[in-house]
Amino acid sequence: MAEVNTGGGGHGAKKGQPKKLNLRVDFTPMVDMNMLLLTFFMFCTSLSKPQIMDLVLPVKDDQIINEDEKNKVKDSKAITLLLGKDDKVYYYFGKVDNAMYKDYNSLKEADYSPSGLRAILLERNANAVRQMVELKRQKLRKEINEESFKEQSDKIKDDPDGQVVVIKPTDESTYRNLVDVLDEMQICSIGKYAIVEMSEGDNFLIQNYLTKGVYGSERELPQ
């Protein structure tokens, strides 16, 4: 449809005068085609790349050393999270002892909502969270640069008095639960956490809690 009209020609044009050329090109088909390509690209591309969450698990040979390290954790600073089924999480503070096995109420229940697990962790880790929020504010105001931000946030997370979270996913939990918990670690500025396999004692605790003590009264307490 590119119109290269050689206008005039007929009447009015005086002899000898140069012919007026109308060089208007219709761009409509061009726009049509561009739009088509544009739609194609919009549908077939992923603009945002997915994110990654780095995870370091201990090498299996080191398990013995880790067992020792675990014992070093101050009992008052330890939080154990048991990821149960149906998006429930059970938790207890400190170390398990016989009194805990006997009393099924020693295990608490929470969910993955902000008012559940996050509220508990925030309360326990209030100090680090406050420092972290302050640090981020400084970074936002451009008072500190990226490097010193990283350095200082590592320092906060490495605080020897910080909380230590032990994550124990049960076989009924899903991958999403695990990522959610790891995410809470990030949100609540918890630097020290580990994914550990369930032990017999943890299973006992959950069973005992779910059956409101019936399970425990029928069996011997685990060591």
């Binding site: 544009l38 969450m53 090498v59 299996k60 009924e172 991958y175 995410d183 949100i187």
Partner: protein, 204 residues
């Protein structure tokens, strides 16, 4: 009374400006495009607040679908060739040039046991998809852990490769543990989990 003259109006709209805009947008999309990689299974990854992006290259993708099937892919075609040749030598399977070329396609995942690999690679793309539906993924049980062999072979070809796990959010944890404990066994205990972005909650 004079005649009412209806003026002949030109309805020609100048599309040049419009064309300019679309071309500009098109260029933008073409330059920023990274195509959604075609995966043998659709996987919905869980969300996290992490902002680290997936590295651009040297990635081993381990796909875990909700029923526990494992798929594997490597991102560099040259690596893929070397890996397949090494795996072939290890299990004494000779792959033809055609099969290797098929494997080098970025969309070809490892999703069958090595014994079925030759048959799988001789199929065309549509049949490969159907083949995946019947297969059980890469075997990763303790008796025959081919997942470990694949990753070790890949590492021996290119030591910069990093493992990232892309699992569906509804995958039961024991099925994910199969992969993570395999990685621990071969001392690849540093890996990443692929997630989608979720905004940091207010006030943090």
């Amino acid at each position: 009374m004079g005649k009412i003259k209806t003026k002949k109006r030109d309805t020609f709209i100048d599309m040049t400006a419009m064309s300019d805009v679309t071309v500009l947008l098109l260029t933008f999309f073409m330059l920023t495009a990274n195509f959604i990689p075609l995966e043998p299974v659709q996987v919905i990854t869980p969300a996290s607040v992490m902002e680290t992006k997936v590295p651009d290259y040297n990635v081993i993708t381990v796909l875990i679908e909700p029923t526990g099937k494992i798929f594997l892919n490597f991102d560099r075609p040259n690596d893929k060739r070397a890996i397949l040749e090494k795996m072939g030598a290890r299990y004494s399977i000779a792959f033809s040039e055609q099969e290797i070329n098929n494997f080098m396609e970025p969309t070809t995942f490892v999703g069958v046991s090595i014994a079925q690999m030759k048959e799988f690679l001789s199929l065309d793309m549509e049949d490969q998809k159907n083949y995946f539906r019947q297969s059980n993924g890469v075997p990763a049980d303790s008796a025959n852990n081919q997942l470990a062999t694949w990753i070790q072979t890949a590492k021996s070809v290119n030591k910069d490769l990093a493992v990232s796990i892309k699992a569906d959010q509804s995958t039961p944890y024991p099925l994910v543990r199969v992969v993570t404990s395999t990685l621990q066994d071969i001392k690849e205990n540093r890996f990443s989990l692929i997630t989608t972005l979720r905004n940091m909650p207010e006030g943090f």
